[in-house]
Assembly symmetry: C2
Homo-oligomer: 433 residues x 2
Amino acid sequence: MASGRLLVEILSIGDELLIGQTVNTNAAWMGHLLEKEGWRVNRCVVVSDEEAAIVDALKDAESRAELVLITGGLGPTRDDITKHVLCRHFDTELVRYPEIEDRIVSWFERRGRTVLQVNRDQALLPAACRPLENPLGTASGMWFERSNGVTVSMPGVPYEMEYIMEHGVLPAMRDRMQQEGRLPKRAHLSLLTMGTGESQLAATLGDMEEALERSGVKLAYLPSPGSVRIRLTAEGEAVDQLDRSHAAVLERLGEWVVSDEGLPVEEALGQFLVRHGLTLAVAESCTGGALGAALVARPGASAFFLGGVQSYSNAAKEQLLDVPGPLIAEFGAVSEDVARAMAKGARKKFGADFGVSITGIAGPDGGSEDKPVGTVYMACEGPSGAMCVRHQFGRDRTRNLAMSVRSAAQLALKLAIEWDVKSKPASRVADSL
Amino acid sequence: MASGRLLVEILSIGDELLIGQTVNTNAAWMGHLLEKEGWRVNRCVVVSDEEAAIVDALKDAESRAELVLITGGLGPTRDDITKHVLCRHFDTELVRYPEIEDRIVSWFERRGRTVLQVNRDQALLPAACRPLENPLGTASGMWFERSNGVTVSMPGVPYEMEYIMEHGVLPAMRDRMQQEGRLPKRAHLSLLTMGTGESQLAATLGDMEEALERSGVKLAYLPSPGSVRIRLTAEGEAVDQLDRSHAAVLERLGEWVVSDEGLPVEEALGQFLVRHGLTLAVAESCTGGALGAALVARPGASAFFLGGVQSYSNAAKEQLLDVPGPLIAEFGAVSEDVARAMAKGARKKFGADFGVSITGIAGPDGGSEDKPVGTVYMACEGPSGAMCVRHQFGRDRTRNLAMSVRSAAQLALKLAIEWDVKSKPASRVADSL
């Protein structure tokens, strides 16, 4: 194999990916893992379940990459052709592995299901490959040595692929790299900003950016609605000064920075609350629990998240959050008054420092002239006061729900940061309460 | 251009996609849209922000596809190189479009932000392209005619890309196809099964599958943990008999079918409840609201979803769901008894037909010998009784949370179907209550 960083390409097989029935989270998961390992993901290709397309893309990837990772098309049914295609590609034939067949049979027996011949035939694997164990399913991984590298085929079921990557592919590839004395060196650091756009950030960094680039540190701006993540990447010797560069960028951007780790806003909110010993509760109407779900996505959420109420119906708003019925009758469930009352109710019911609420019209139906589809109110109540914002998103339900979660987290983070700034001189806390 | 179905390839540009910092939802969104249009997505490639990689992949895609869709790398910062690469690729140069510059300036003014030169320079576009309007941002789409087709470049921000696709690319491409008299014909129908594996399903369809294939209908099995989606695809003349084939498969698979539209389990649950006029409430501990969020992801959720409690803390379980404190003290918050009490509490508090609960140890910490990380209890209480299951998932928090949501929806769907079957003879409902 070549020297330097390991070059990897990913080949995902499946019509369901091409037609958008499934999102290719496998590629993102692998990319994240490989990047952490210091290996370079050069390209990622999705092709259909057709022999010509698979072979064409595979040859192409193998011509460039030392490690080619294939996922998908290993099921027992007729539409799964990867194994047969690989046999022809590597000029080998299927042989039966009795110990794998035993494992498959016991896999079915443990689940009280009948083993069919097609299940047993999952133990038929190319003679030229080294099987990689998959205790979570019936399709083994396959490791093929080739003159200029390695090609691995894995099932497309995420947790099966992940197991084979972590227990089969990574350890074997690490050994190989070590034997060749190849130690990769590449590192990233990120930060998250709110309150301005990427062009203003780039202008502020100005001269610095060129100096960083000359010293081998690359800057990337990754904008999301309402926030911009900045990523610093260093390779080789520049890695040693990455911390210093990161600190310099943090200092230059000052109060725009809301997370020095470049976390998504929801995670930055959790991090901030934990650091300051604060707690939060939610009241979610149109999002149905998505804000809470985003907050608990990272470990350690119990240190700040007390819970919430998914008050999808008006009755739930009244009974579980003490939103006054007349308020809903007068202003409607989607209104500033109800949003504020929901935030107050969540804060009180859970005894939290901050209560955050979301109520809106996610669409595609239910809008009016005053409050068209995409109208969402978010409110946050904290120890030093409350805030409410009205957003007018678009007509797409999925996007409206995602934007609502992000905006509500931003609002809570803003209020928490302001409260922290205000509360620092102890005398002023008393004043503001 | 060629006759027949339009062949499309997608080229996504961005290191953040390769290293898994961002999941390529753009490709899935485009794939779904193009598929609905009847066009064929042949390949989807992700490359890094490097000129050589972009040009290489672009040439490759253009050699095969009539329509090449590029996303990403159009921001105003130095790391965004797509526009310059396209100028060299199409042998053209940047020219300033005054009307686009005016739009950019007013875009910033409306938001009360300063317009920088780099923002104005977003109005510099290749002379050889036709700009595609993007009212949601500052980067225009670009439409390039080439001898054997069209190449379009769009920003990577999802809603900007979506706007340009819907308002710029689709209408123009449809016109073109119509002028050429090309009417694509391709259709899909799906169904969702639970309770058996893909091999058993394939065995059950057996003879049928070959007959379908001969008549031009292709079957695909898409397994997820606990369920298998089956997709039927027909092209050309076979489209006319797709409905009949679908009905035949539905009949053959009988009670394994839980959704005749192939919806995910959470959506199948919602569909079932709406059809039978039933309601549901949730009580979520470790998932923090993810089940509720999944249930409201589709429009019309208010017809069956009343709400829920995100009882992340024990106090919330007691106070908002009436879970007896001694029960938590004796068995722990993660236990069958507490899961059942949570489901009962949700059902009662919201006055719902079904109450569903989730309580577990999502990890990576917090496990014990008895209840290791990945232990999750789900319970469901309905009009004719309650059920509780214990799952032992793995160590990955994200997967544990996703599997918990899916399994809880499965449990509720199972109970709802059983209740429906039981309740059909009216006399037996009374017996069972």
